[in-house]
């Protein structure tokens, strides 16, 4: 977890006021990125780090499922970890594809329920991508429909 200290960078809060998620990533079951997108105003590499470090927490959460009781078997994993600036949420499909959403800590309007519905939308859209016969499973996602759905999540319609 020590690498998180890279991530604490000061930012301009004003321009972010209408943004819901700052980074959305889809990670394949072999833990390589299928899709990653972050708000263009900021350092993209930083988010790659954040998502990358979150995968350990995801792994920990899934493997603890065996020990914990049935209530831990939900696909939504909840808050993975908070940092000074961001909150990182995770979700794992039954096919072990991981979704990671990074939101701004200052954005207090986002509740657990909203995050949950964002993941649900993401999952629905990912399923559509998987069922597209022209998509080869395991390839980076290039679908325009998926892209525009992610864009809608990153910028809230005011």
């Amino acid at each position: 977890m020590t690498c998180l200290c890279f991530l604490c960078v000061s930012r301009d809060y004003d321009e972010l006021s209408s943004i819901m998620a700052v980074c959305i990533a889809v990670i394949a079951k072999e833990n390589y990125p299928l899709y990653i997108r972050s708000v263009p105003t900021q350092n993209e590499l930083k988010f790659h780090y954040t998502v990358h470090t979150s995968l350990d927490v995801v792994e920990e959460k899934i493997s603890s499922v065996g020990k914990a009781l049935a209530d831990q078997r939900e696909l939504y994993l909840g808050l993975l970890y908070p940092t000074e600036d961001y909150k990182v949420y995770g979700y794992v499909t039954n096919s072990k594809v991981k979704f990671v959403i990074v939101v701004d800590s200052s954005n207090t309007s986002l509740r657990d329920n909203e995050i949950r519905s964002m993941f649900r939308k993401l999952h629905n859209s990912f399923t559509d991508v998987m069922c597209n016969p022209f998509y080869i499973p395991g390839d980076p996602i290039q679908s325009k429909a998926f892209d525009s759905m992610v864009s809608a999540m990153m910028v809230q319609a005011c």
């Binding site: 049935a70 794992v92 039954n94 096919s95 072990k96 629905n124 998987m130 069922c131 499973p137």
Partner: protein, 157 residues
């Protein structure tokens, strides 16, 4: 119901198409089963993604097999598997006494030799579904009396 027939018609046509193109020399004859199986594999991958969207995470391998026998089979073949047996060492036998894709064929011995081509797609379907859930397997099918058939799933460790 009309929508139930559509899958069967399409499935029959896919088999016809694959075997016709083999006759015309576009493809080796022995590859037909493999080709049907591969089509099933890709479809299975997509289907399982859709079917498991609202289910809780699976506990273990047996939990996954039960899902295949119940939910997956009901969605694709409109009935559950009649019997699931396992040796608890990675071999599962799924028995369907009235398999939907064989149901339209004569129940006698007449078409028994054609049965494998009507099962290849389904074998791929199961293998694709399992592989997307992280279970590598080999799926084979056998028929002794017509509408009944057995699928054997061998899990690869």
């Amino acid at each position: 119901m009309a929508d139930e027939a559509l899958f069967q018609f399409l499935h029959n046509e896919v088999i016809q198409y694959v075997y016709k193109s083999a006759e015309n020399g576009e493809m080796e004859n022995g590859r037909c089963i493999t080709r049907l199986e591969n089509m099933g594999f890709r479809v299975g991958q997509g289907l399982i993604e859709r079917f498991t969207k609202d289910t809780a995470r699976f506990k273990d391998e047996l939990d996954i097999m039960k899902f295949i026998c119940k939910d997956f089979w009901t969605s694709v073949f409109k009935k559950q598997i009649d019997n699931l047996r396992t040796n608890h060492q990675g071999i599962y036998v799924l028995q369907d006494n009235k398999f939907r894709l064989l149901n339209q064929l004569s129940a006698g011995k007449q078409y028994l030799e054609h049965a494998p081509k009507y099962l290849a797609f389904s074998c791929g379907l199961v293998r694709g579904g399992l592989s997307n859930l992280g279970v590598k397997s080999i799926v084979t099918a056998e028929v002794s009396v017509m509408p009944a058939c057995k699928f054997q799933v061998m899990i690869q460790k």
